[in-house]
Symmetry: C2
């Protein structure tokens, strides 16, 4: 005799939950059980939050970060104008930098990075918009905060070429040992880059 499974609407919910990042089959079932049975679950609150977020959140028309109006809270802040512009791959990369508390300029999300194998070329990224912003906003510096992998490298060197005529200094965030990371855990490439990026100490 085949063991009975949960009713189909329940399994369908678990399948939908399983698509979420970081949610495996067991957690999906646990979450579905909780949503279906706990008096504290209030699934309608989750539904409402999902619908509101899908309806109200859109990309900022300047930088691509999340906004509820035409421009995001960062671009709307006048004290951030005319400083650095930090170029990131996606809107998801903005807050990790913002939360360091070490950056008080504006951002520019490219919407991806150059990836010839996936047919993503310069025309698919918001590069023209970046060049236009630089002309309009005259930032003091462009900081490239792209991934430390082959495609991130390629995008950074392409951007460096494109941005050279603007005359604005272009830099790239450092690569090296992660904080708290011992040498024994670092791979060869990380060590190579950490060596190449060494900074002389004042003596």
């Amino acid at each position: 005799m085949k063991p009975v499974d949960y009713p189909e609407p329940f399994q369908q919910l678990a399948r939908q939950l399983r698509r979420l990042p970081g949610v495996g089959p067991r957690s999906a079932e646990r979450i579905a059980l909780w949503l279906a049975t706990s008096p504290d679950a209030h699934p309608e609150a989750l539904v409402a939050a999902l619908e509101t977020a899908a309806r109200e959140v859109r990309p900022c028309e300047h930088c691509g970060f999340f906004a509820t109006g035409p421009e995001c809270a960062i671009c709307a802040e006048p004290s951030r104008a005319g400083r650095e512009i930090c170029v990131v791959e996606t809107a998801n990369d903005v807050l990790p930098i913002e939360r360091t508390g070490f950056f008080s300029g504006r951002y520019h999300a490219l919407g991806g990075r150059l990836a010839p194998l996936e047919n993503i070329g310069p025309e698919d990224l918001r590069i023209d918009a970046l060049v236009k912003r630089i002309a309009d906003e005259r930032p003091t510096e462009i900081i490239l905060a792209l991934s430390a992998d082959v495609e991130g490298e390629a995008t950074a060197s392409y951007l460096a070429d494109v941005l050279r005529p603007t005359g604005v200094p272009v830099s790239r965030i450092a690569q090296g040992l992660p904080a708290g990371g011992g040498l024994e855990h670092a791979d060869q490439l990380t060590l190579q880059r950490a060596l190449a990026g060494r900074i002389s100490l004042k003596v």
Copy 2:
């Protein structure tokens, strides 16, 4: 300057996601980002699944397991009638037993267990319904599959008293070492119970 955070509808979605079991603040944000930005996310499919499950799934009127009609797939199966009834605390406990493939009777979810500190007494559990089912269905045995903790023990011994007059044999699932668990990982109480529940081997 205070770092900017995500727009409020986005934060509200992350807060709702964080309430799900096993989802911490970082996963909640990762899931919210994915739902808001990934072209594969289709949040409307998750919303639809949630709404359908909330609308269509209800407790089986016999055993309390999840059903889409008045009775669940287990109670609807005639070959399961007149065999054992396995008593569990909640509907969530049914499938873990069902999936062992070692039980082919029916279930009965009490809807909780006796917990005087939380003011949960016998009248809050589906005990009368169990007694009535036993009279109607004449099972061959009642198997108590309750938690191996103080409240599970108390509930089991209360049920043993209540069910004695039915004349149906009552048993309780074994307590002992978990499969694959070495002695060195077992706590004292588990070992005590494993000793007390020892089974003589044929020699």
